[in-house]
Structures are given as structure tokens and as C-alpha cells.
């Protein structure tokens, strides 16, 4: 059976990704232009005259038509330049480079926690459907889905930072400088986001496993003399591999979005805080830059997921 080489697959997927990047950045740009507020007023400072504000608009090119502004931004991006912040003049790429590791660490911790807890929960629930373990897990999972992340975050801070003083309540540390300190800072926000992920992994995995366990080939495996645990952990997990990978890719995207709120709660200088500040100050190059980065990450995650799915399930043709 002929298969396309992974290089070709990646190439064609990247071409498909271009319209998505264009659409996402353009929509965010349009939204920013629609909301009231003008960065020129901020830049001009207190008690500025109308003439001064107009001058600043011209200086930064804010007087040009919106489409021209977007085109100019896009022109820079194509050349690998995410332009500068209007407010501070710092290169957007530098701001993102500083913020991204903080966000990435939280998402990685959240994902690992969600999988480490969610997978065993899903498997245990599937062993005896409607048994008391299954019911207990289903209850925990419902809680995990229902509890808002920011609320859980505040409870965690109140309990583990303020009361027990085990973990820091706010801020972030550079991972390369002190990994342990960085993880300590990212742990509570990670847990706050992981709760939803754990619930989702457990629920989806249970459903997928139950379907696998009711299939004919599981009867064959029993007839061959395999133990239940071998059937579950070896055949079961490989058969739900595609489902699991899909859940993970959706989770990464969701968790990335969830950091916007969680970073605000923990005052973490990550991508989420950056985009919130950019949006409030109408610093559109910052907002555009972060959106661009997130879209690229999401596309990359989806692409990697598709490649891994094909590796796990031989029936999938790329």
C-alpha cells in the first residue's frame, strides 16, 4: 500500500494552514478596530492637544485605512518580523519570546497531570461499567468539567499558598535558570487547568475503551488466554490511541486558551497576560503577534497529532 512521505504531508498541511493564519489574524485585527478606544490618546499622554494626537496617529500610521494597516503588518510578518509594540517600542517577537516559556510550562504541567490522572481513571471506570468505581469516577469527572478554572485557581491559592504556604501564589520563574523554582510557580496554575483535562481524558477514554472491549477481537484475545489487564493495557490502549491523541490535541488547544484567564489570576507574565494587556491598551501589534503565535502552535499540534495517529493506527492513510 503506497504511502505519502511525511515530508510531503507536512508540506501540504502547512500550505493548508496559511489561509487559517490569515483568517484568524485578520478577524482579531478587525475586532480590535471595532472596539472603542485609541492608542494615540494614550501615547500622547495627559492633557494632549488634538493636534498632538493627530500627529501621533500619522507618526504610527494609525490614520491609514484599516486594510492598509493590516497589509503593512502582514508584509512585516512575511519577512519574519512581528513589528514593535506601539506603546513601548519593544520588538513583539522579544516580548513573546519572554512570555511563551511561562505559558508553555503551565500547559505542559497541566497536560501531564491530566493524562497521569485521567488515563488510569478512564481505564478503571471501563473495567466494570456502572460499578461503584465507575460511578465515583464519573462523579469526579463531572465535577472537573463543571468547576470553573479561575475559581479552582483561587481556592488553590487560598489553601496551598496563603494557608499552608507550600507553593508561591503569584509570578513565574525562568525554567532555564532554576527548573525547580519554575515548576513550583507553575504547579498551582497547572493544577487549575488540569482539572478539566483530567475529567475530559477520563470520560472520553472510558467511552472509547468500552467500545473496544465490546468488540469481537477482544473475545478472540480471551480465547487465546490473555489476562484482562493485558487486554486492557496493551490491546485496549493501542486501539484507543487515536482517540487519546485527538483528546490530547484538543486539550492542548483548550489549555492554551485557558491560560489567558489563569495567568491573570496568578499574575504570570505569559502569553495570556501579554494579549490581555495588548488588548486593553489597543496595542494591536502585540495582540496580533500573540494570536499569530497561538494559531501557529495550534496548527503544529494538530499536524503532529495527525502524524502520530497514522503511526498508531495502520488503517489511517495520510
Amino acid at each position: 500500500m503506497a504511502r505519502r512521505s511525511p515530508v510531503k504531508v507536512i508540506g501540504s498541511r502547512l500550505v493548508q494552514a496559511l489561509p487559517m493564519i490569515l483568517l484568524a489574524t485578520f478577524m482579531v485585527f478587525a475586532l480590535l478596530k471595532l472596539v472603542p478606544g485609541d492608542i494615540a490618546v494614550t501615547l500622547a499622554g495627559d492633557n494632549a492637544t488634538d493636534a498632538r494626537i493627530t500627529e501621533i496617529r500619522q507618526l504610527y500610521g494609525l490614520d491609514r485605512p484599516s486594510l492598509v494597516q493590516y497589509g503593512a503588518w502582514l508584509g512585516h510578518v512575511v519577512q519574519g518580523d512581528l513589528s514593535q509594540s506601539l506603546l513601548t517600542g519593544e520588538k513583539v517577537a522579544d516580548s513573546i519570546g519572554r512570555a511563551f516559556p511561562n505559558t508553555l510550562l503551565i500547559v505542559v504541567i497541566a497536560l501531564v497531570l491530566a493524562l497521569v490522572t485521567g488515563i488510569p481513571m478512564g481505564v478503571m471506570a471501563a473495567i466494570k461499567p456502572n460499578g461503584w468505581i465507575d460511578k465515583l469516577i464519573s462523579m469526579i469527572a463531572s465535577l472537573g468539567v463543571a468547576v470553573p478554572g479561575f475559581w479552582l485557581a483561587m481556592i488553590l491559592v487560598a489553601e496551598f499558598s496563603l494557608k499552608l504556604n507550600w507553593l508561591p501564589a503569584t509570578g513565574a520563574k525562568s525554567f532555564s535558570a532554576s527548573p525547580i523554582d519554575a515548576v513550583r510557580h507553575a504547579l498551582l496554575p497547572g493544577i487549575a487547568i488540569a482539572a478539566y483535562g483530567m475529567a475530559e481524558v477520563a470520560r472520553q477514554l472510558r467511552g472509547a475503551l468500552l467500545e473496544v472491549l465490546s468488540s469481537q477481537y477482544v473475545r478472540t484475545l480471551h480465547a487465546k488466554g490473555l489476562s484482562m489487564s493485558r487486554i486492557l493495557w496493551q490491546h485496549g490502549l493501542k486501539n484507543v490511541g487515536v482517540n487519546l491523541l485527538t483528546i490530547i490535541s484538543l486539550l492542548v488547544n483548550r489549555m492554551l486558551a485557558a491560560t489567558v484567564v489563569i495567568e491573570a489570576v496568578f499574575a504570570i507574565p505569559g502569553l495570556g497576560s501579554l494579549i490581555v494587556r495588548g488588548a486593553i491598551q489597543r496595542d494591536f501589534p502585540i495582540v496580533q503577534g500573540v494570536v499569530f503565535t497561538m494559531v501557529v502552535v495550534v496548527i503544529a499540534v494538530n499536524l503532529i497529532t495527525d502524524l502520530l495517529c497514522a503511526a498508531v493506527d495502520p488503517r489511517i492513510e495520510q
Binding site: M1, S215, T220, L221, A223, G225, N239, R315
Partner: protein, 311 residues
Amino acid sequence: MGAGPPAQRKAEGARDDARPLLSVRGLGVRFKTAQGIWQATRRIDFDVAPGERIGIVGESGCGKTITGLSILRLLPGNFAGLDGRILFDGTDLASCSARQMRAIRGKRIAMIFQEPMSALDPVFTVGHQIAETLRVHSDVSYEEARAKTLEMLRRVGIASPERRIDDYPHQLSGGMRQRVMIAASLICGPELLIADEPTTALDVTVQAQILELLRDISETSKTALMLITHDLGVVAETCTRMITMYAGEVIEDATVDEALVRPLHPYTSGLLRSLPHLSPRHGRLPSIPGRCRRLPRCRPAAASAPAARTQ
């Protein structure tokens, strides 16, 4: 109730002298249903001698598959209880622990199923699935298992096994998948192979090849074969003895020659009459009229059946 023993004639020959490999006595299986407990099979008695090939026939729903599954205790989740004894080489399988059953499944009693596509795990290579049976039951190295797997693939008649061993089930034809199933079930050299409608999902030419393979393997390796089918032609070609089941009970147990030429039970002759003939055309095929549990369905029963029983 009040049904007597099944219409049975002792087959002549050495079979009676040899100790049976499998001896099923009074086997009955119950299931939970929405309407309460349902007795699927009852009072099933039969023996299988070492190396013997028996066919279990009967219409859909008569309990032949359930009987096959209950020997390996692979009954579905709504299983409610089992009566009787299943003596395999002196051990009562009905009272074995789960661990003891696992040691027997695949190693001493193997089973293959009707639909070879859904009976194989789609995400593992066929080589892995054949070797798996061996590796579960014995402590062999990867290389040994692979060499044995290649040998089995060759033995079940798969062309270029070196290439096929790393294929996935979806890359094989239906007949090849059933050959793979047979290889996976026979790699440990079981004493009994239960084949549940192994050729029903295959086309006619492939069907004949698979049956020939089963008969051949049973003869050369002295593996007893329990062939579950609704196709009397399949039994005639493959087996030496035929057990006819109806409504959860065994109603006739005879050699294939006797059962097919001089059926003792009217139901068996009913089954025989409903076989289509190639020539000349007889008009409509006789069907077995169905009204009540058993007796009224046997056309000549009321007048002439020697084993006629009243309910």
C-alpha cells in the same frame, strides 16, 4: 418437561474404548434478559474423543454457539449461570478458576470465530497476534516466537509468509485472515479446536479450502475438532460425527453417515429435506413448519417418529 435422553445410537468402533478428551454432561446455560432469566441451553451431553471431528448443527439460535463458548467459559456479560459438568481431560472446566481457564484457553483448547475481520485486532500485525498466543503460554524469546509464527503461516498455506507476517489484518483477504486465525489458534498445539462457523463469512471456493485445511490439520496433528455450523454439507465433508441441536437441547448424536443417510430424529430429516438440490428441480424446498416448541415442527413426527416425545 419430561424429555428423555437424546436420540442416540452408539457408534461402532474404537471410539467407545478411548477415554474421551471432552465430556460434557448435563450442560445448561442461563442468561439475564429484560424478561428475567432465560434458559438458553439445557441437559447437553456429548463426548469428543481425542483427534475426533464432530459437527454441531442446528438452526440459528438453537444454542450451538453458546455451547461452544461455554466450554471455554467465554460467555457474554449477561451470563447468569451454568449447570452441569464440562470434563476436559479429567478437569471440570465448569468449576475452574479464572486463572486456570486462562492457562487452558489458547493452549489446550483453542477457538476460532465466524468473522475473521472483526476477530483480529486491527492495530497489531498478524505476526504479533499469532505469536501472542505462544508468548502468553510459554516463555519463548522474540526470535523463537517469530520463527514459529513463520512456520505456522506456512503451515496454514499463506504464500510468502516472510512478507505477510508484518501485514495488518486489513491488508489481507477474508480467507487469509481466517488462515491467520487458525495459525494463531494452533500455534500452541491445542488438543481441541472449537470452530464457530469458520467459513460462513467466506465465499464458496475459499470455504472449501479452509475446511480442507482444518481437516488436514486435525488429521496430521491429532487435534480434535468441534465444528459449529448450520451447513450440513460442511459437516458431511469435514466431520465423522454429527450432533444435532434444537431449541437448546441435543436431539441427535450419530455418525455423519448414519445421521445423513438414516436420520433418527425427524428434526434431522427435516433439516436434510430443506437442503437445496442442484438437479433436477423439485419445486419449492420443504421448510420445517413451526408452531410449537418441537413436536409439531417435525412433519412426520405425530405418526411415525420412533423418538416422539410428548411435552
